[in-house]
Chain length 332, copies 2
């Protein structure tokens, strides 16, 4: 295992310290639990909080800041955070207008966010939760009942964060998050596996001429393992599954998001976007917004995912709204 | 070789098409040569142009846009662009106030930019050039007489782009670029090699327990190949070489830039930043600005580089100025 680390047990804590040290005006760390907090929290707004296993950076800690998350709760690598992290983070940033938990659909995350919500509700805090389940690849999977939550989470955090920043109520912000989830679909693929530091060996293996289509962000099995194909054919398989699922219809405006799994060269991500743009044009869809890069990763895995979000005027305005985080930043 | 591509010969062209398709309001492609142009060029300002081999994305095409580059000329992977690309790009974006070429110090790039400058000067265009040579690792290298140009190039393009956007003259913009180059130092390392698509095999090999310190962005040899060490020790070796070189002095304010080589997990880059912050604190340096991520890459190479820029008020203001490109974007 070749990794840049000091002690395996300290990987997450040291990485969080580096995030905070490099963005001191945006975030601070919670003094007693592993949580990334907005530097200027609490504020009088709905507190938008997410979390999940580490190893997907910049998700979620990199999305804490103006116009996106108020707090993020990172677990160990590919491991759910605990209810006390979520509870303490919420207590630290909640400003009187309630808390929205944005939860990726993994069994441990869902269970622990539910426990934290119960603890907060018991103290009179208004808490709502939305579970993101945008991955069309598989119905159930290794860590999930129902579809997995993947790239759509990034878009939900951005759009919902903008609404909360603009003063939306907890009911409005929750409804918006459900709306985003209902209009977003994703699928991923991998060329190579990744290695969890504590495990020391790859999560799975792929032959030199193989890829896996429909893979999850922890390397959990996808739809099909097959011989490597030209990028255009890979994109077509994945985009077809996504477009047919919602279904997206001719004339729909979409946000097209090509996400790198962490180890994929940017040159290849742009090449993939080019193939995606051609496919969507053939299907009559209009790319009105786009995002290309490493936004929800699986350590050093090579591969990519495609996420499409069906836009409307409300979603476009909120997507374009200013954001200032380590992972996404524009226009303030 | 596992890569997301269609035909090996088309990798660069398709990737550029994807860059343009995903950022149509920011950039357009030159109709006849491989060059990325600002969508709104030419404008009445000094045209800031860079270029070099592909495979380092988002450098340089990802830095074309408001507040940074007016054009970028990409060669094939790890291969210099040609003088006609630079000449045509300059002709397309030059708005009457002259052209600054920002050139990374590689023999082919320097020679070809010089030829393009001669061609433009022959037509009465004011052209200036600055060669960036910030890599402290080696004096000469495989493709370079003198020090190599690496991470400092990203910072120079941002800062100089802001000055040009603000109306600086060619003389002012050139002097600023020389100032940045005189105050910036870098060093890189690799855990793994990378594979140029047309070659089909890794550029070099490293044993499972080895790393290379001082590596160049094309995998060219560095200072020393050694056993993998804890991140803190690696950072100290590299940061010491950088700090001692300028030398940076106690009390100096710096921009600290930890750059991923393309295949390094973001979690590890933040961990590295944490070690860098500790080292710089011990040396009495003050991190006034920071940048962490994949900004000048070597395809899928795993590893990182450290770049330090000695700041002053002028450089801080220009660094903070709005920028809107595929690779860097904030504050407009």
């Amino acid at each position: 295992m070749k990794k840049l680390l000091n002690k395996i047990d300290d990987v997450v804590v040291e990485s969080l310290a580096g995030l905070a040290a490099s963005h001191p005006t945006l975030v601070r760390l919670h003094p007693s639990v592993k949580a990334v907090l907005r530097a200027d929290a609490p504020r009088v707004k709905v507190a938008v909080i997410s979390g999940g296993g580490s190893g997907h950076e910049p998700l979620h800690g990199g999305y804490v800041g103006y116009g996106m998350l108020d707090a993020a709760c990172p677990g160990e690598v590919f491991t759910s955070p605990t209810p006390d992290q979520m509870y303490e983070a919420a207590k630290a940033v909640e400003g009187g207008k309630g808390v929205l938990f944005i939860v990726k659909n993994y069994t441990g995350d869902v269970m622990n966010f539910q426990m934290a919500a119960d603890m907060l509700a018991g103290e009179g805090v208004n808490v709502a939760q939305v579970v993101i389940d945008d991955d069309v690849a598989v119905q159930d999977s290794l860590y999930t009942a129902g579809r997995r939550g993947v790239g759509g989470t990034v878009l939900a955090e951005k759009i919902v964060g903008a609404k909360a920043e603009a003063g939306g109520s907890l009911e409005e912000v929750k409804a918006l998050c459900e709306k985003v989830n209902s209009r977003v679909r994703s699928m991923g693929m991998a060329l190579t596996p990744c290695t969890v530091p504590a495990a020391g060996k790859p999560t799975f293996s792929l032959a030199e001429d193989e890829m896996e289509i429909g893979i999850g962000i922890h390397g959990e099995p996808g739809r099909e393992r097959m011989k490597l194909k030209p990028a255009g054919q890979i994109v077509e398989m994945m985009a077809k599954a996504i477009v047919d699922d919602l279904p997206f219809k001719p004339g729909d405006e979409v946000l097209a998001f090509v996400n790198g799994m962490g180890g994929t060269p940017q040159m290849e991500l742009f090449l993939v976007f080019n193939d995606l743009a051609a496919y969507l044009r053939d299907r009559g869809l209009v790319i009105a917004r786009s995002l290309v890069g490493n936004y929800i990763t699986s350590l050093e895995m090579q591969g990519f995912s495609i996420t499409l979000l069906k836009l409307d005027e409300e979603l476009k305005v909120l997507w374009d709204a200013p954001v200032e985080t380590a992972g996404l930043r524009w226009g303030r």
